[in-house]
């Protein structure tokens, strides 16, 4: 059971932190989640 189970997820990753696709891979392991938006931002 995960806090992300059956949730729609918006992902904003950080180029120098954890990028969006990496977070997406983690989120996909929760049950019934749907990634509705995923992006990586560069703040520098």
């Amino acid at each position: 059971m995960s806090i992300l189970d059956n949730k729609k997820v918006i992902i904003i990753g950080d180029r120098d932190g954890i990028p969006g696709p990496a977070i997406e891979e983690c989120v996909k392991t929760a049950q019934g989640t749907e990634v509705v938006f995923s992006s990586t931002e560069c703040f520098v």
Binding site: D14, R15, D16, G17, I18, P19, G20, P21, A22, E25, T40, C42, F43, V44
Partner: protein, 513 residues
């Protein structure tokens, strides 16, 4: 392997207070989406005067007046502390004020697109005549100037990009074509700024190190702008334009792009070209980006800070054939983030940091200093982006622990010993790996270090062509001093002489018999 060396480096900053409001995209976007915003009203109250920008510790580090180690001694935040005895000029370059830079824009203008107001011209001509790099020929390029009314008409009726100095209209950049969007006034302004700040860095590199510009054979420009027209957006080429203005009469060049990673790509390319013997002296150079001025301004204003992204950055580095003295670039120890690398921090650090180490049989702790994304944390922390160099060092250390090359308890001391505080302005390509090259050259010759790694990363996804990001790295080390002489085959003449001698010997033997 006879590696190339990093022979010299030049670094410049340009204080551009008016360009924050008029050309920084955070502000220009706000003008479009929310023209009456409180933020826009507050911007002018948060602009630092030139003297404060000169006295600012990270800026003094960028031009070489204080070392990264000395910068560590200044307690953060840095913006409210002055560096004693700070100077506009440093061993690597200078911090140029805006009005002089506007004059340099005109000097750099090959197509008479920059128009400056008459009275302003008089003032900047006098100021620039005191500058060590600008002679009568340069000053003549500024011309006599125009009536203010003519400039106003250009801005109002002909879509010229206005140039302001302390809130006053002092000139404009005209569009270079009636309908071509790639030659409109806005693009020409950005491109002329890159060219002019690149020229300033190039001149500092040559002048401060007494390098004859005629010895430069190739220039690689590696900023983030693109010059070209509607038939070839980004066709180029800033490199040759900068070489021309720097009187590098024997040079050609080209532009290398890769977002913030481009300078490290350029460094590796330059090292390879010199090592292969194609050219003896290659300069990598980049100017600064007006678009990024005040990028995090909203957070700075919200927190009552000055807008700290108030300078353009520029740099130029000379890569030359091995002289037995300057630090060598190990082209055999290069890291690269490949298409298949993946985006997890572990995959990124492995490809950029540990892959080149493994090639050389080295441990993470064998590199004395890592130069990563050297963004100034005074700028990024209040904006919520954290301390970028420190985050990078922590990730490198974590991989070191995983590889059992470092004890977990030594994570903090690794960051302290193998890292540096960030001192470069958030100008994209400017802080990426290369700000340390000047200090690294010193640390690896007169200093005590033996190996450093230069790492550049770039956010390719911003161009909407791929979701990938990018990065490359290279190890730079103390010169062992033994220059390998290239073993060449015998020349045609030598072969002829050898055959002639053999024939003579043979003939003399026959005669004896």
């Amino acid at each position: 392997m006879n590696c190339s060396v990093v022979k010299a480096a030049g670094y410049v900053l340009v204080h551009t207070p008016d360009m924050i409001l008029h050309n920084g995209t955070t502000q220009t976007t706000e003008k479009i989406t929310n023209p009456d915003s409180e933020y826009l009203k507050k911007v002018p109250e948060h602009i630092r005067p030139y003297e404060e920008v000169v006295n600012y510790a990270p800026n003094q580090a960028y031009i070489g007046n204080i070392t990264p180690e000395e910068l560590k001694g200044y307690e953060m935040p840095w913006y409210d502390k002055d560096v004693p005895n700070s100077n506009r000029f440093g061993k690597f370059g200078e911090i140029m004020p805006q009005d002089e830079f506007i004059g340099l824009l005109k000097i750099s203008d090959a197509f008479d697109l920059v128009k400056l107001e008459k009275e302003f011209v008089k003032v900047i001509k006098e100021k620039l005549s005191a500058h060590p790099f600008f002679n009568e020929n340069d000053l003549a390029k500024i011309k006599e100037g125009e009536e203010l009314s003519e400039i106003e008409v250009q801005v109002k009726d002909h879509h010229a990009e206005a140039i302001y100095n302390h809130g006053k209209l002092v000139g404009c950049v005209k569009k270079a074509h009636e309908i071509d969007v790639n030659l409109n006034a806005h693009v020409m302004y950005e491109n002329l700024v890159v060219k002019a700040s690149g020229i300033l860095a190039f001149k500092h590199l040559l002048h401060n190190n007494k390098i004859d510009p005629a010895e430069i054979e190739y220039v690689i420009e590696c900023s983030e702008e693109a010059c070209g027209d509607m038939n070839q957006r980004g066709g180029g080429n800033f490199a040759k334009a900068i070489a021309e203005s720097g009187e590098a009469i024997n040079a050609t060049g080209s532009d290398t792009r890769g977002f913030c990673a481009a300078p490290t790509h350029a460094l590796i390319k330059a090292a390879a070209l010199v090592q292969a013997g194609v050219y003896e002296n290659v300069v990598i150079v980049a100017g600064g980006a007006t678009a990024k001025l005040g990028m995090n301004g909203k957070d700075h204003v919200k927190k009552g800070l000055p807008i700290l992204e108030d300078v353009l950055g520029g740099f130029a580095v000379l890569i030359s054939k091995n002289d037995g003295v300057n630090p060598i670039l190990r082209t055999d120890l290069v890291g690269r983030h490949t298409v298949g690398t993946g985006s997890s921090p572990q995959a990124v650090i492995t490809s950029l940091i540990t892959a080149p180490l493994d090639k050389g049989g080295l441990k993470i702790t064998d590199i004395d200093k890592y130069s990563v994304e050297m963004q100034n944390p005074d700028v990024t922390k209040p904006a919520g982006a954290g301390d970028v160099p420190t985050s990078n060092y922590k990730m490198i250390a974590a991989i070191g622990v995983k590889r059992k090359e470092l004890e977990r308890k030594d994570l903090g001391s690794f960051v302290e010993k193998h890292g540096m505080p960030g001192w470069a302005p958030t100008q994209g390509h400017i802080p990426s790996g290369v700000p340390y090259l000047g200090f690294a050259r010193e640390d690896l010759t007169e200093g005590k270090l033996n190996k450093v790694m230069i790492v550049g990363k770039g956010s390719l996804f911003l161009g909407r062509m791929t979701n990938l990001f990018d990065g490359v790295s290279i190890i730079m080390e103390r010169n062992p001093g033994n220059i390998e002489e290239k073993v060449t085959g015998a020349s045609k003449e030598e072969v002829k002489t050898m055959i002639a001698e053999a024939m003579r010997d043979f003939a003399s033997h026959l005669l004896k018999e």
